[in-house]
């Protein structure tokens, strides 16, 4: 398949779109606008015919692995099936062709959807106050930390620190910084659970929030979460729950019930929004009633049978995004929740956990899994032995999997496990696929280092030179660069 760039296909005079003649007559735009504002030429975009646009992007698409085509056990990313029915529904004109500033009388359907979705998210989390506005998980973290900051400001408390374990997602410290806090790392145990002693040593009344991912990034449920929450609360701090791993506990345990004060969802993970090659996601947050006044505006409320967008909450932190939020992702989440219902959602987590434990039971015989024989919806195998015995790295294994038609697991995360391979099968894969993946993984561990260092062999490209990319950055095409 060609990797010619669209710019290299350009030829002066070709074009795709033709716009209609102007039906209102009148002066030209050049006459209507001041000369000094006008460019002499339109931007030098590529000039290509429509069939070329179609063939170019169609062929590019086929260079990707995707959930629609391959098993994609990318740990922590919950690459589950993205239902086609949700795509079709989200495209209905009555949902897709709505302007955010339409009169509310013309929006009662979608506002009802949001209102119900706020309730579902609140119910599933056990944290009743919901904002649908944040645009991504990390954005939700940031928003929630701003909510916490507003809360402590209101209380007149000066709390400057955010704590989180070393096994946390990188977004946790980054969000803490953006929310104006100092970030302090707490150690975690080999199970991924929080080191209570270290936590205790770092807790005081300057700590605003302790951020915890539970189930944690090793795929284990941290049993001590209740104890942690009590401890943090005893210092007046808040617990933030990174909801990345909610796929393990839907209908089974609720963050609000095990001590969280705030959390975000990743609806693109847990509620099957398509990942879009990197986005969009969404990052709705749920908080306790105490924290509700600080949520961003608008929120949807129902009064006298009418749904309304409420903008005027005096203690609100304001807004973190234009308009309402990543509505398209939220609609899909709504569809997903309605498709499954209470039993189905619980069954999602049960199946995700069953699938992960089954795969773990197959893999642990040839790839050590430091966390032990059980996991929640994902587990982290370590390639350390393989590395030591045969010089085969987790990256080698990952690359070789591509040759067999499997996307690689997440590698080298969490940072606390050497040669980590973080495997999340999700509930929407079959036993046959898991069997076949385990078999291939075993076969790879038996293969020669030489074969693996050079892997992948059958993919559209072989391993790229990432160092060169970073050292001599070429981040746009120029005619000279070809």
């Amino acid at each position: 398949k060609s990797t010619t760039l669209i710019f290299e296909l350009s030829k002066k005079g070709r074009r795709g779109a033709h716009l209609p003649a102007c039906d209102v007559g009148g002066p030209s735009a050049a006459e209507l606008l001041p000369a000094e504002a006008l460019a002499a030429e339109p931007p030098p975009l590529p000039e290509v015919a429509e069939p070329e646009v179609v063939r170019h992007f169609t062929n590019l698409s086929t260079l990707n692995m995707s959930v629609d085509t391959h098993f994609y056990p990318l740990g922590s990313c919950t690459m589950k099936y993205n239902s086609k029915r949700n795509e079709r529904i989200a495209g209905l004109p009555g949902l897709a062709d709505l302007h955010p500033y339409q009169p509310e009388s013309t929006l009662q359907g979608i506002l009802q959807l949001f209102h119900e979705l706020q309730q579902y998210f609140g119910e599933i989390s056990g944290l009743p106050a919901v904002s649908l506005q944040p645009a991504a998980g990390a954005h939700g973290e940031l928003t929630a930390l701003m909510v916490a900051a507003a809360h402590f400001r209101k209380l007149g408390q000066k709390r400057t620190k955010i704590l989180a374990p070393d096994s946390a997602h990188g977004t946790n410290p980054a969000s803490a910084k953006m929310a104006g806090f100092e970030f302090v790392t707490v150690k975690s145990l080999p199970t991924g659970n929080v080191d209570m002693d270290d936590l205790r040593s770092k807790l005081d009344d300057t700590v605003a929030v302790f951020m915890i991912t539970n189930p944690n990034t090793l795929g284990m449920f941290d049993k001590t979460v209740g104890e942690i929450a009590n401890l943090v609360h005893s210092f007046g701090g808040l617990i933030y729950l990174d909801g990345a791993n909610m796929n393990a506990i839907l209908g089974i345990a609720r963050p609000g019930d095990f001590g969280a004060d705030m959390m975000h969802y990743n609806p693109h993970k847990t509620f099957s929004g398509p990942h879009g090659g990197g986005g969009p996601g969404a990052g709705p947050i749920c908080v306790t009633e105490t924290l509700r006044p600080y949520l961003p505006c608008p929120v949807v409320e129902k009064t006298d049978g009418q749904y309304r967008l409420v903008y005027d909450k005096p203690d609100s932190i304001g807004r973190v995004r234009s308009f309402f939020g990543n509505v398209g992702v939220l609609i899909r989440a709504y569809c997903y929740i309605r498709t499954h219902g209470p039993d189905g959602l619980k069954r999602v987590s049960e199946t995700a956990v069953l699938n992960a434990n089954y795969l773990l039971s197959k893999v642990k015989h040839f790839l050590p899994v430091p966390q032990g024989a059980r996991c929640m919806h994902e587990f982290v195998a370590s390639g350390l032995t393989l590395k030591k015995s045969k010089g085969i790295s987790a990256m080698d294994v990952a690359k070789r999997l591509l040759d067999y038609g499997f996307h690689a697991p997440t590698v080298y995360f969490p940072l606390t496990v050497p040669e980590a391979m973080m495997i999340e099968p999700t509930e929407t894969e079959s036993k046959e696929t898991l069997d076949s993946f385990a078999e291939v993984l075993f076969r790879i561990t038996e293969e020669s280092g030489e074969l693996l260092h050079e892997a992948p062999h059958t993919t559209p490209i072989s391993r790229p030179d990432e160092v060169r990319a970073a050292r001599q950055p070429v981040i746009k095409w120029t005619p000279a660069a070809t």
Partner: protein, 464 residues
Amino acid sequence: MPYTYNTPDDERSMLQSIGVDSVAELFQFVPEEFRLQRPLDIPSALGELELTQHLSALANRNASAQQKACFLGGGSYDHFVPAVVDALASRGEFYTSYTPYQPEVSQGNLQVMFEYQTLICQLTGMDVSNASLYDGGSAVAEAVLLAMSVTGRNRVVVPASMHPEYRQILETYFACLGAELVTVAAPSGSVSLADIAAAVNAETACVVVQHPNFFGCLEDVQGIAKIAHAAGALLIQSFDPLSLGLLKRPADMDADVAVAEGQCLGTPMLFGGPYLGIMACKEQFVRRMPGRIAGQTVDRRGRRCWVLTMQTREQHIRREKATSNICTNQGLFALRAAIYLSEMGPQGLREVADLCVRKTAYAKQQLTSQPRFVSAFDRPTFKEFVVRDTQGRVAEMLEQAADAGYLAGVPLARWYPEMADCFLVAVTEKRTRQEIDGLVSALSAASKSSAPRPHTSLAQAAWA
């Protein structure tokens, strides 16, 4: 459970392999006290037919822009989306893949990112672009953070003619960061250089100017840039991508960072999101840019290929020292923008911009030649303009227009209390003369006053 595979037989044999007797046993690490002892209180499951019927019923309770002629703007627009955009972006290999962590099996997405970055550079004239941010509003906030980081300063100057929601986002971010937001009035519809000059000082990190601005008016970006640069501050321009079919590019006006809402590039209105945050900047700021960036390299066989690069800016490596906490991009919408711009090409883009300007001018002329309405500002406009209702019944009138089939305008009262009698009208290339004339009639007819003003006769003949 329409999306799962496990049969009772599967489940049995899987449990056996694990060595437990039941699925419940797998949750042994979740302490009993934290277990939910009841079913979730959400409605029971719907099959696809019922789900589709339910959501169609909800959708039918909204009035879409396919039913009513949409003249709403303010950052979200009813532009035409060519069919190729939907057809290509709906390929599963694009939308069900994720961040290209494995470049060998993600060249499609990586090349699209690289092409998108290049297209944005071509569009804006800027040196470098990232692979997208959340939306136009948070892109402004990220650009401001970049400027604060680059200059080590904490004061930010913004005209009131910038999108009020973008300014609100800055306020929210600044509340935590102790930064200072200085808002400069724009009583004539655009901000004056004198007012900007008065607001900018040696503590100023950047001036942010939106051009065309929230009121649809043009700003003197070059003039503002000179003032900012003279003070050692950065100039951040928030632009309308489609306006660049006609207007000078941000780089031509010496912007340091150019940001935009990219919704107009092939994405439907979607009630406000997901959208596309565009960010491009001068070369010297590239390592401060937030968001993913794709870079060119070669594979082991020497073939040109693409990878995610400059990842040391990012939070999964740098954690709290990252340039931003952003780790998703809006890949699917960057893809849509790339397809849109390829399909349009330079001529198509110019034609769209030209239609917007001319139809907007026509609508403004027609509407303000009605006795009831006056133009709020005497400034050139791109694709929207502010109208003052001399009868001051904006909300009522817009509701009536909606009933008559027109999403007629955005009332400004929420953000500008002094403009409670004003509304913003946007006219895209999709609006026909018939629709514009219908809008004028509908607004004129809405809750008519009994005391008409004398007709201000402008040169209507020019529009014949």
